[in-house]
Symmetry: C2
Subunit: 205 residues, 2 copies
C-alpha cells in the first residue's frame, strides 16, 4: 500500500501537507502508537485510533508500517533497538557483562519515556497471542539471539532467556505490581544483587 492508496473511509481525512507526511509524521505515529498500546492494551488499539491520535490518515499508518502487528513491532522497537542495546551490553570487559546488562535494563525502565512501551509490550503479550508472537519474533530473534551469538557457553540462547526472564520478572514486581521493598529500592542495590546472576548465566562454566 502506498500513501496514494485511498483510505477505506475518507471522512475527516486531513489534506496531505508537510504536517501529515515525512519523518515527523512517522515519529508522531510511533509516539501515538506507544501511548495507545500502553493505555488501551493490544485488543482495543486500532490503526484508525493511532492515526487519529497522531493527526494523520490511517492510510499513512498502513503505508509506513503495514498491519497493526507491524505498528506494534515498530512501536516497541525503540526499547529493544539492537543498534543501541548490543554495543551498550556487549561492549566492555567480558567479566562485567552481567553488570552492564542489569544497568542497561534498569536504565530503560527507570526512564518514563522508554518505560511506557515496555509496559505496553508486557501487558499486551500476556493477554493477546498476536502481541506475544511479536515479542517472540522481535525481541527474542533480533535481540536475545544476537547477544547469544557472542557468548562462549553451551546453550547460549537458553542462558540469554534465563537472564531476560529475571529482568522481566523484576520489571513486573517493581514497576507493575509495585511490591515493596523492591519497588522503592535504589537501582544500584538491584544491579549489585542481580549482576552476578546475569554474569553466571551468560559466561559461567
Amino acid at each position: 500500500m502506498t500513501p496514494d492508496t485511498p483510505a477505506p473511509r475518507r471522512r475527516g481525512r486531513p489534506s496531505r501537507t508537510a504536517e501529515t507526511t515525512g519523518p515527523d509524521a512517522r515519529t508522531r505515529i510511533l509516539e501515538a502508537a506507544r501511548t495507545e498500546f500502553a493505555e488501551r492494551g493490544y485488543d482495543k488499539t486500532s490503526v484508525r485510533g493511532i492515526a487519529k491520535a497522531a493527526g494523520v490518515d490511517a492510510a499513512l499508518v498502513h503505508h509506513y508500517f503495514g498491519t497493526k502487528d507491524e505498528v506494534f513491532a515498530a512501536a516497541i522497537e525503540v526499547s529493544f533497538e539492537p543498534a543501541l542495546v548490543i554495543p551498550a551490553v556487549l561492549g566492555g570487559p567480558p567479566d562485567e557483562l552481567g553488570e552492564r546488562l542489569a544497568r542497561y535494563f534498569i536504565s530503560v525502565w527507570e526512564n518514563p519515556v522508554t518505560r511506557a512501551p515496555l509496559l505496553a509490550v508486557i501487558r499486551s503479550a500476556l493477554t493477546h497471542e498476536a502481541a506475544a508472537k511479536v515479542l517472540r519474533g522481535f525481541v527474542l530473534r533480533r535481540l536475545l539471539e544476537r547477544i547469544a551469538a557472542e557468548l562462549d557457553v553451551p546453550d547460549p540462547t537458553f542462558r540469554a532467556e534465563l537472564a531476560a526472564s529475571h529482568m522481566i520478572g523484576i520489571a513486573i514486581l517493581r514497576y507493575v505490581i509495585q511490591a515493596e521493598p523492591l519497588a522503592s529500592a535504589d537501582p544500584e542495590k538491584i544491579i549489585e544483587m542481580v549482576a552476578p546472576t546475569l554474569q553466571r548465566y551468560l559466561t559461567g562454566r
Copy 2:
C-alpha cells in the same frame, strides 16, 4: 451477607438443596472462579458469572467469599497456600533451599490444574490494579514475608522478592510467551541453572 439474604434478582435461582450448599458448593465455586478468571480475565469476570458456572446462587458466592476481590484471593490461594508452600520450601537442609524453591515452583507450573489460576493471577495483576493489590497483599505479605522471616540475611524481603521475580519471569517466558528453547527445556535443566541464583539471594553473604 448470609445465604438467607435475598439475591438481587431471583430469576433462575436454584432451590437450596445439598447440591447448592456445603463444602462441595464451596469447592465448585472456587473451581469455577479459577476457570472464569483464567479464561475471561479479571475485568470480565463477575460474581454472577462465577455463580452461574458453579450452578449456585450469587448470594452463596457472596456468603462464602464476599466481594469479587475476595473471591479472586480465595481462588488463587490454592497455588500459594502457605501451609503447603512453607514446609515444601523451608523444610530440609538450608544449603538446598534454592533448589527446593525452584523445584516447588516449577512443579506448580508444570501441573495444568495449578497452572491455570497462576496464569489468571499474572494476567489479571498486570492489567487490573485491583488484582495487583490482591497479589501484593496476599502473596507478598502471606507468603514471601513468611519465607523472609526464616532467612538469616540482610534485607530478607527484598531478597525473597528478587527470587520471586526470577520465577515469575521464567513462568512468563516459558508458559505464556512460550519462548524457545526455554519453553521446551527439561524442567531439571531449568532447576539446575536457577537453584544457585535463588540460593545466593536467600542465604548468600
